[in-house]
């Protein structure tokens, strides 16, 4: 079994925190993993992406071919669309709906949402307000991870919860629990939309 994921967002949003949890879970489960990251100049408020590949078999390429991604997981709605040519025809988009507008020519949001909604497999949710409603605005990324786990078959949700516990353990029980709650909220939302 193999799943290829493109994580996307804007520099500074923290897409790598999602990758870190998945990586920890995959390592624990004995899966093969490759995860290409973006460092350096593009991190300064520009578009960023990470290619994350999980498989029970050996993985060769660090990059996902065009048309090969099973999922696009995005912290920003326009950034989800940027990588459309990489999504397989049957692939899923899991995206935040809150736009991050730091450019003067950001497109009309109705157009962005209309294009997302035209696609067959999309889960779109406002992870920022879900996290805020839970009282932990900094856990928005974990809401997205939870939503993603509803279509990520290669790792069980419990393996990801364990990953969250390991990664956040040194920050204390309260932080761990608020991140788990955020994860569960995202998971429940995506389950109801599938």
């Amino acid at each position: 079994m193999k799943q290829d994921i493109i994580l996307s967002g804007v520099g500074g949003q923290g897409i790598l925190s999602i990758a870190t949890v998945i990586g920890s879970a995959a390592l624990q489960q004995g899966l093969h993993l490759k995860q290409a990251e973006v460092h350096g100049m593009s991190q300064r408020g520009g578009d960023v992406q990470s290619n994350l590949r999980l498989s029970s078999e050996v993985i060769y390429s660090d990059l996902i071919p065009r048309g090969g991604a099973d999922l696009i997981v995005s912290l920003e709605p326009m950034e989800a669309l940027r990588y459309l040519p990489y999504l397989s025809r049957e692939g899923w988009i899991i995206t935040n709906t809150t736009p991050l507008v730091n450019i003067p020519n950001y497109p009309d949001m109705d157009q962005v949402m209309a294009q997302l909604n035209e696609l067959p497999h999309v889960v779109a949710l406002d992870v920022d307000s879900v996290a805020r409603d839970l009282g932990s605005p900094r856990a928005a990324n974990m809401v997205l991870l939870g939503a993603m786990s509803a279509v990520l078959h290669i790792l069980e949700p419990d393996a990801l919860r364990e990953g969250i516990r390991r990664i956040f353990a040194r920050k204390g029980d309260a932080v761990v629990e608020s991140n788990i709650k955020a994860f569960d909220a995202g998971f429940a939302y995506a389950q109801s939309k599938r």
């Binding site: 093969h32 390429s61 071919p65 940027r82 450019i103």
Partner: protein, 531 residues
């Protein structure tokens, strides 16, 4: 104890070096190499063994210090990005002539497609240029193993080893299993061939002849290296040479095994004997290599007529930019996967200076002043502030390489440009701007050097900057008059003061330095959250 970790290629190299008994890493930050040194700095073994890991002022000083450690018999590692090797080229070439005492490994990280660089030069050419072996791993696990072996090889053959990573290897994570045992560090031990370390012509001529002989032995080693292998395939309509990471993109396209004979190459000098074996099997050879067509060019001269060599030079593979599984797929004649069309709604989102960054306030004040000077030219440099070229600032006329702002401003000023303004960051200034400033003092050049000092090496993520707290003293020591070393604090409320200072120094016809100092907003946040 052997353990499994999820590591970047950079980190795998670092761990391999530590496990090989490293005594010191010498480096200047540069994407995509920075994480090698940072990993070593954070590793418990570094503290336990007192491994040197302080950042160097530039790549040349790093290379020289590491060579000194090798002279003393200890194992040392040098790290920088590909263009850093240009800065270190003099001691790098020299190190092939001295040879290595303790194992000496130079990690140069190339950036094809220029994700964060000004060119896509291929470090493997430097290996051939210096007659030095080059290791180019194809996976994170191989990176760890090759780093360990590179030190042994360096000592066995008495030559530094150049390790080449590219962005996708440096910045991609995979599971890496470490190997026991962790080797002890070397004791102090001086070279048995002391003449070789004094490169006077009388010694260098002797050494050069030896190096030419040794280079043939390095190639023989590459033929028998376990990192290089020739694998036959049932379909002999094509043969493939896959170098480093290109091997992965090839295999990605054949999950059940490649049907063609494949020569995988990760250790150079290029093993020509293996290529001749391959040429005996096929009539057409496709060369897949990340970066510039080094191997393809070499192969065109190796074979008799009747063998076609395909690659980047004949357009089978993209001539510039990095390899991708898709580019390799097309070169193999395989059909593309079905895709969704690209979205027409998406707008480009270029990188920009952070909100609240001091460079922003400096550029705002500078632009306000220069509105009154039609002939003004601004010579930029390498760092976050290079983004000042982009809207809304559009404040720079040039950017070439580290330190060029200070010196290009002088040449242009002498030619009649006025005012000639150099804009350089604090870390870039101590890297390569100081010597240029001395030239300016010696010729009393009519320039204003603006040091936009954010107290760190910002673009690469906030590493220590070599001159922090001493910039005024350095400039004064180089001979800039004390009254023309001015310090300003870049904040909106200070615009009138900042503009007045810049204006006064433009009107002074000699060398002035304006230091615009406020801490990087990113390191400020980090320091605040630590408290």
């Amino acid at each position: 104890m052997a353990e499994k970790n999820l590591l970047l290629g950079d980190e795998a190299l670092a761990l391999g070096a530590l496990h090989a008994g490293l005594s010191g890493v010498y480096a200047y930050p540069g994407t995509p190499s920075t994480e090698i040194t940072e990993y070593i700095q954070g590793h418990p073994l570094t503290r336990e063994r007192k491994v040197h890991c302080t950042w160097s002022s530039n790549e040349k000083t790093a290379m020289e210090a590491a060579l000194g450690m090798s002279f003393a018999g200890k194992r040392s590692l040098v790290c920088f990005k590909h263009v850093g090797l240009n800065v270190a080229a003099d001691p790098f070439m020299g190190s092939a002539m001295t040879g290595a005492g303790g194992g000496l490994v130079i990690a140069s990280c190339d950036d094809p497609s220029m994700h964060s660089s000004q060119n896509e030069q291929d470090s493997r050419f430097y290996g051939a240029f210096a007659m030095m072996p080059v290791f180019e791993p194809s996976s994170q696990q191989e990176t760890y193993q090759m780093a360990r072996e590179a030190f042994d090889y360096s000592e066995k053959r008495g030559i530094p080893v150049l390790m080449r990573l590219t962005t996708r290897m440096a910045h991609s994570r995979a599971v890496v299993e470490s190997i026991d045992p962790i080797r002890e560090q070397n004791p102090l031990h001086y070279p048995e061939n002391p003449r070789q370390w004094v490169t006077l012509p009388v010694n260098a001529r002797v050494r050069n002849r030896q190096l030419i002989k040794d280079y043939a032995a390095f190639e023989e080693d590459a033929v028998h290296s376990s990192f290089n292998f020739l694998e036959d395939g049932p379909d002999r309509s094509l043969g493939i040479v896959a170098c480093g990471i290109a091997y992965n993109y090839l295999m990605e396209n054949y999950p059940d095994g490649c049907p063609y004979p494949v020569l995988k190459v990760s250790q150079y000098p290029f093993p020509r004997e293996l290529a001749r074996d391959l040429s005996g099997m096929v009539k057409t050879i496709l060369v897949l290599e990340e970066g510039q067509p080094l191997v393809e060019q070499q192969l065109k001269g190796v074979f008799p007529t009747g063998i076609t060599v395909r690659g980047r030079l004949d357009g089978s593979v993209n001539r510039d930019g990095e390899l991708t599984p898709d580019a390799v797929r097309a070169a193999l004649g395989l059909p593309a996967l079905p895709v969704h069309p690209a979205s027409e709604v998406v707008a480009p989102r270029p990188p920009a200076l952070c909100m609240g960054c001091g460079h922003r306030d400096f550029f705002t004040a500078l632009n306000n002043v220069l509105k009154d000077y039609d002939g003004a030219k601004v010579f930029g440099d390498i760092g976050c502030y290079t983004l000042g070229w982009m809207p809304p600032f559009q404040a720079l006329d040039t950017c070439v390489e580290m330190g060029a702002s200070v010196t290009m401003a002088q040449g242009s000023a002498y030619s009649g440009t006025w005012p000639a303004i150099a804009v350089i960051g604090d870390s870039t200034f101590t890297h390569s701007g100081m010597t240029g400033l001395l030239d300016a003092v010696n010729t009393n050049a009519d320039i204003v050097v603006c040091i936009s000092d954010n107290l760190t090496t910002g673009m690469t993520g906030g590493q220590d900057s070599a001159g922090t707290g001493r910039l005024e003293a350095i400039c004064e020591g180089l001979g800039v008059p004390r009254e023309h070393i001015r310090t300003i604090v870049p904040l909106p409320k200070n615009y009138p003061d900042m503009e007045q200072v810049i204006r006064e120094e433009i009107e002074y016809h000699g060398v002035s330095v304006v230091i615009s100092r406020r801490e990087c907003i990113q390191t400020l946040k980090r320091h605040a959250s630590k408290k």
